[in-house]
Symmetry: C2
């Protein structure tokens, strides 16, 4: 059986991951998930991207809200508010149940990789959820208002500070985990997909894990990316704003160049076909397809497009 | 202003504490509360007696159920059950909110005494809640099925094992806290009351904190106890069963003898008046009153009886 590895962050990445899980035979999808957003809140270990992927693949995510659980309740938080306790970060009861259980497993000595496997099992998810690394690897956003942890930038400040750069927590010391290395070196690996996730906040932290970029470079399978930018704007989140603030063009080309050393093809939206002419010889190749995922069937169609593209590139 | 100190454990003790709080002027009641039942569950710091007293004094306890919060919901626990995660210990959402906040304060470096003061403030409680000590002091129940932590004996085994004795966690190393010592040495102290709590599981652990018994012995104010035994049976809980298993008579006399070195008077129920004749010269004095608390007004009446008795003993 032939595996696919996908690198992803939160909502956009989780959608394509969901499409891939629907399209592939059970167990063939291995996801390497950003943990740069992870943080502790009220003593609970919060893993926003891992949980978004978990909930999405389990079919229990809150699609309307764009984060958290479907059928969520807010009793614990209501009690905090009644007692005048700060609640800047929203936590539903089902979310809290998950975080408390994750903490219990942490206290039992399980690694984040082992915990994610356990949680995937409990939620009946048939794909592998691999945290990008096992230790804490917090992303720091460097802004004109100073350096701040990702959640502070994203939730407290609603992405308003002007971004100057990033510091990735794993860059200094942590290494790729044995299962991540195994997934990328697997003889049965068929291809690697970078999901349409934020290049700075989701894919960037993954690529900064020591050893990760090298594994992608040495992979003997095609590597493709799906653009998170359509028509000069981000499908979701602050990607375009950040690109502007960093003085970059808001374009899939810009992102493709960041992945140039290992990327074979970037899939851009058919509406952006005009960009292909602006490629220069050193840029990765572009292909076009409808890449906006509005419905579950869009997810599966895009997954099929990606898998077929990988097949074509292999042949 | 003249203070009263009361030693107490869970439900029975909390009822008299509530009566005392209603009867005394605000701020005059200082409670020394058993922490021998405290334990960690799912990484949360659970303090059953402190919370029972807190909820009772704040008027938010679940009177019908006999433990936990009024208007409680069970969303977090429902999620654990849905995921097949063990839930042998019942935790409501409001309870969890409290435990998570307590844990956050712990992580900030606050002592249990400081945390209890903060929580009392948040709940608008006008009495001082003083944990018997600041470090972990778990009560171990020695049974014919082996030694077990209190919660295992009480919740998992429903008090069914035959008790041979107890080991109190504070006995070895911990000391009374500065606020507990301050409360018992206060020049404005008017009297000390041992609430009708289990002598082995609630009062026993408090008396085992190094320094505590000595402070009671040296107190220059009267010390009285309210019997948790009426008509040869415990008002609530396993006290009578344990007394039988330890070969003791199920009688207030037996309990009074445990407190003999520092106790001035034990208040027993008027229905037990016949016991007074069986006293010997070395036993503490007995007085009778209606001591069963069925209603809030019973609590206040008993509180008044206790305060008047202390006044009489002082004069």
């Amino acid at each position: 059986m032939q595996h696919i590895v996908a690198l992803c962050g939160g909502v956009g990445g989780a959608k394509l991951a969901d499409g891939l899980q629907r399209y592939l035979a059970p167990g063939l999808l291995r996801l390497i998930v950003n943990t740069g957003d992870d943080f502790e809140y009220r003593g609970l270990p919060i893993c926003p991207d891992l949980d978004t992927v978990l909930y999405t693949l389990a079919g229990v995510s809150n699609v309307k809200q764009g984060w958290g659980r479907a059928r969520e309740s807010w009793q614990v938080q209501t009690q905090w508010r009644e007692l005048g306790i700060d609640t800047w970060f929203q936590l539903g009861d089902r979310d809290i149940a998950l975080h408390l259980y994750r903490r219990e497993l942490q206290l039992q000595g399980l690694s984040l990789t082992q915990i994610s496997r356990t949680l995937a099992g409990k939620f009946g998810v048939r794909s592998e959820l691999l945290p990008m690394c096992d230790g804490p690897a917090p992303t720091t956003v460097l802004t004109d208002e100073g350096a701040m942890p990702f959640q502070e930038y994203f939730v407290k400040h609603q992405c308003s500070p002007v971004v100057r750069g990033f510091r990735y927590g794993a860059a200094d010391s942590l290494d790729v985990t044995v299962p991540v290395r195994g997934a990328l070196e697997d003889a049965n690996l068929n291809g690697i997909i970078l999901c349409p996730s934020n290049p700075y906040l989701s894919i960037g932290p993954i690529l900064a894990v020591p050893g990760m970029r090298d594994l992608l470079l040495r992979a003997r399978v095609p590597v493709i990316a799906v653009s998170p930018i359509i028509g000069g704007a981000a499908v979701k989140g602050p990607a375009a704003k950040i690109m502007r603030e960093l003085g970059a063009q808001v374009s899939p080309m810009e992102i493709a160049r960041q992945y140039r050393d290992f990327l074979d093809v970037m899939l851009i939206d058919e509406s952006d076909a005009g960009l292909i002419v602006s490629r220069d010889a050193n840029d990765p190749a572009f292909e076009t397809a409808p890449i906006l995922m509005r419905s579950p069937s869009d997810r599966q169609t895009l997954a099929m497009t990606c898998v077929n593209l990988l097949r074509r590139l292999r042949d």
